[in-house]
Symmetry: C2
Subunit: 255 residues, 2 copies
């Protein structure tokens, strides 16, 4: 599929997903079914070391002094904790080790700067990455000069390096999302921000990874409660939004 | 039912529950079905103000500077956050307000000391109380002089006062639990600690409230993974244990 077809299909899928109102229990599954992953899932196996990487949305207040797997303090109070709780509860026989190494404010190049300690040394067998909102947002607010192409190039370079060092790692690529009309997110985000979402989707495809379609999940959820119910500022999830994210993320794995 | 029959049935139910190994998804439902609540549940209604009260297990690192409902910082990183995430995700149309006011180290009389600000003023329509482990534990470790009867008397006095001031409040009574053999919990806890569990069960019965049977949930869970998988010290839950508690708590409500 060439880049133009890819983009047309991406936007078409997003539009179809937005047409009908779903009950909350259908949202995550529906969003995932409509994503480019087309049912591709990562199977959680005995002994898996699961690393959740990203920015503030993953970080979510985790203690930087605690690095142990499976500890609440190390996991923060966002979707990573919620995902860990469910995986650990449902797989007591699998001896899973779940780590959060999200850091607030990170863009892709900042993941790369700390990747040896915060990814490679942890030797994850499952690596979930949720990155991209700052790669765009900080061009509006912080004078960041990176472009869409910077995001794509940096992301692929990071993944290529990761695959060389951890050839068996199973990747999960999560979609950057934003909720228009809540505090930080206004019309100046569009259409450019959508291209970052699309880039993440294409990268998931290229690296044969499940894609976690957070945007579709939030787009569907705001038909059931106001946007501010799901996100505190358009970028960071509320408690309800973090639970929605966890449910959507869990659609990308078999456990 | 007299007190002796009550006690015999309580211990019998606990024993039957321990006989067979269940899958994790059956544990919470099975524990609840075997509890004295006999299917009694609280229905979550539109506009409910839900207050989770208790000790460190409820507190779980919540910020004492943040008091807003439904905020991750105010809810901590334990079962209260997990319960809130699920209720808020699954009931976007109900405009729920969920508060955590657990405080580490609390015994019943310490709830009473702060009850006006930390319960009555919040005007909960649903009030969940999880208290009792310190009422026993601190007699071993802190020189606390309260007895089983102190626990029962203080608890009933607190509930009577609450019902006078909030006549329509729907109560949920949670069981104090302990996991033998993990750090803080040794054979010196028994049989006395079991009487605190039984007292909480009887109080739930007397006040016509669902009883959340955490002990049965943990007893069943430790057949699937070692005790230290579910609790960090025998008293406080791990991330897996907090998810198990949330799942068990949610059995006591219709939502």
């Amino acid at each position: 599929m060439n880049q133009n077809n890819n983009r047309r299909n991406f936007i078409k899928t997003a539009s179809i997903g937005a047409l009908s109102t779903l009950t909350i229990s259908q949202i995550a599954a529906s969003a995932f079914a409509g994503s480019n992953a087309k049912g591709k899932k990562v199977t959680i196996q005995k002994g898996d070391i699961i690393l959740l990487q990203g920015d503030s949305i993953t970080d979510s207040g985790r203690s930087k002094q605690r690095q142990e797997a499976n500890m609440a303090q190390s996991l923060g109070n966002g979707y990573a904790l919620n995902v860990a709780g469910t995986l650990l509860l449902k797989n007591p026989e699998k001896d899973l080790k779940i780590h959060n190494r999200g850091i607030s404010g990170n863009k892709v190049y900042q993941l790369a700067e700390r990747w040896q300690a915060d990814c490679i040394d942890i030797k994850p067998s499952v690596l979930s990455i949720h990155i991209g909102v700052n790669d765009f947002w900080h061009t509006l607010t912080n004078g960041y000069k990176g472009t869409l192409q910077t995001y794509i190039d940096d992301y692929k370079k990071l993944l290529d390096s990761t695959k060389r060092q951890l050839p068996d790692v199973r990747l999960i690529i999560c979609e950057p999302y934003a909720v228009l009309g809540v505090k930080s997110v206004d019309k100046n985000w569009y259409p450019t921000f959508d291209l970052f979402r699309e880039a993440a989707s294409n990268i998931a495809d290229e690296y044969d990874a499940p894609f976690v379609p957070y945007q579709a999940a939030f787009d569907k959820a705001i038909k059931l409660a106001p946007p501010a119910y799901w996100t505190v500022d358009g970028v960071h999830p509320s408690v309800a939004g973090a639970a929605l994210m966890a449910q959507t993320w869990l659609e990308a794995v078999k456990y």
